[in-house]
Amino acid sequence: MTVQELPGAAAYRPTPPPAWKPLTDPAPLLPDPEPYRVLGTDAAADADPALLLRLYTELVRGRRYNAQATALTKQGRLAVYPSSTGQEACEIAAALVLEDRDWLFPSYRDTLAAVARGLDPVEALSLLRGDRHTGYDPREHRVAPLCTPLANQLPHAVGLAHAARLKGDDVVALAMVGDGGTSEGDFHEALNFAAVWQAPVVFLVQNNGFAISVPLAKQTAAPSLAHKAVGYGMPGRLVDGNDAVAMHQVLGEAVARARSGGGPTLVEAVTYRMDAHTNADDATRYRVAEEVEAWRAHDPIRLLEGELTGRGLLGDDGIEEVREAADRMAAGLRERMNTDPVLDPMDLFAHVYAEQTTQLREQAAQLRAELDAERPEQENGR
């Protein structure tokens, strides 16, 4: 029997597929074609002077912190430091838009955001100094441990925000990641979960141009990283990451939206990494000086300073005062970092499990014996 001979076959007419419509309307999710700016536009006049001054103080402080931490690597006081110089506006805005009850999920580069959120400047450096994996209690400050494996913190932020909502708390999680980190599977899984669960999360991508040596064009073929939001069903916002006011505004809106049950947002901050990847990296191998200079002209501190002085909100004295305060913070940091942390090698066995295992008890005894055996020698040597 051929197909034509099937009963009713002659009567068949191809029909269109059942009606299709998109699950979510993509239009409102699409990012602006240009990074959103406030400074340098008419909108700047509406910005609250107190907020401008607050942002300015924190930016200057942040830059000073980066410079001091980098200097500490040269003195061997820090094992490594990934500077965020040039990206301070993103770091500071991320910290300032959060309420106390909210949570920050930083990447390994976001020491500054953690400090601006209120962490002790020395404790924030523990990981990078090498004395502790995390020098602070994440619950106390609602700052997750600085995360070294890229993008792993993003699903954590989604889970935490989801849990808070299940418990009826209006807590928001803000999770930070670099442009390179957006290629990891965890980034995509986190965005998808967040959108499906309508979790109160804000994803902040700091697009600083490079993942170590790899430029953005080798990382993604998307129109922008903010565009990635649309595919998951959340709005994407593109912001000038060097404009502290724009950053504060856009992140603030995203946080408010999340808090009121509006779901997640992906914010891409377009910025630039002024220093090398870390103190151990040689950036001349992969980028040209002209590019760095072009970005130097669009420096986040200068941008804001221009607005403040232009509006007569800040004079030379004020600038001097802010700088001096930052210097005092740096001097304090330097001084406290110049003392060796007192470490107990027996700490190796602490906190591996809630209750010590038999094996670890044995190994601890072995180390204790080794340390005791070492001690007389050291004392004789003195």
């Binding site: 990981l127 290629s183 990891e184 170590i212 993604t220 942390p341 090698p345 190796l348 094996q359 190994q363």
Partner: protein, 343 residues
Amino acid sequence: MSSATVVEAGRPGRTKPATMAQALGRALRDSMAEDPAVHVLGEDVGTLGGVFRITDGLAKEFGEDRCTDTPLAEAGILGAAVGMAMYGLRPVVEMQFDAFAYPAFEQLVSHVAKMRNRTRGAMPLPITVRVPYGGGIGGVEHHSDSSEAYYMATPGLHVVTPATVDDAYGLLRASIASDDPVVFLEPKRLYWSKAAWSPDSPSVVEPIGRAVVRRSGRSATLITYGPSLPVCMEAAEAAGAEGWDLEVVDLRSLTPFDDETVAASVRRTGRAVVVHESSGFGGPGGEIAARITERCFHHLEAPVLRVAGFDIPYPPPMLERHHLPGVDRVLDAVARLQWEAGS
């Protein structure tokens, strides 16, 4: 941290000192020059030449299609390598650091290790996965893992780790030439150790799976590999003063395991200590000790001992020297080989 003593190969023509990093780079270069199917891919391997500069110059010499900066995604990199190998290429993948290879673990375990078996031999995957591993370089969390036990527990993978400049070259060449997937573990703290080695007189490319006796002795065997080899060599020297004449076996390959060389050595000496820096519990040492016991039970004068890293997450750099097995811990174990039944 002990200085890296590297045993010289003792072949003619090895006069210029070279580092292990240089030898690895040279092995990649020579493999790529010989076989157009060899492709290198990973994070920062192109323009930068890798964070350890192992792939330095390859993109320039062979083009970006053969030495490719990939997007930052380990599962994607290894998954893509699977497809490349399915189409006849021989991908060499660089994982930037030990603990950042974990996203690729599923590809490794579910596909790289299984494809030959699953396709009844129709589709072998000649992929080399290079992983810098181990501690001792003062790296922060996630930069010092020893992951060899996970790889060893996965049938279908070869697990190889050089400890000398010569072997770095020879074993990497062999791994790339292998028709089976190889996890090539690079002891990163030995990257800058030098030995008399000349890239102009090519090393012997050893078949994968052969251990080598680095030092012969009569009273006990130290069995080790990778970053712990220099520690064991130093311990063997020091033990001489106490009347111990130690033999040191460098495994070089963890899978396949060279039972012959190890058993022959332990039968000669009657005593064995396995030394590695990855955790002891569930670590490679347990497997090795069991094999020795099975094969050499009647020759053993004492139980096979293990000297390993503690069973803890790799500690922050300021404490790592207390964690890593050093010369003293090896010597303590050697002293315990004066074993008497019932003691």
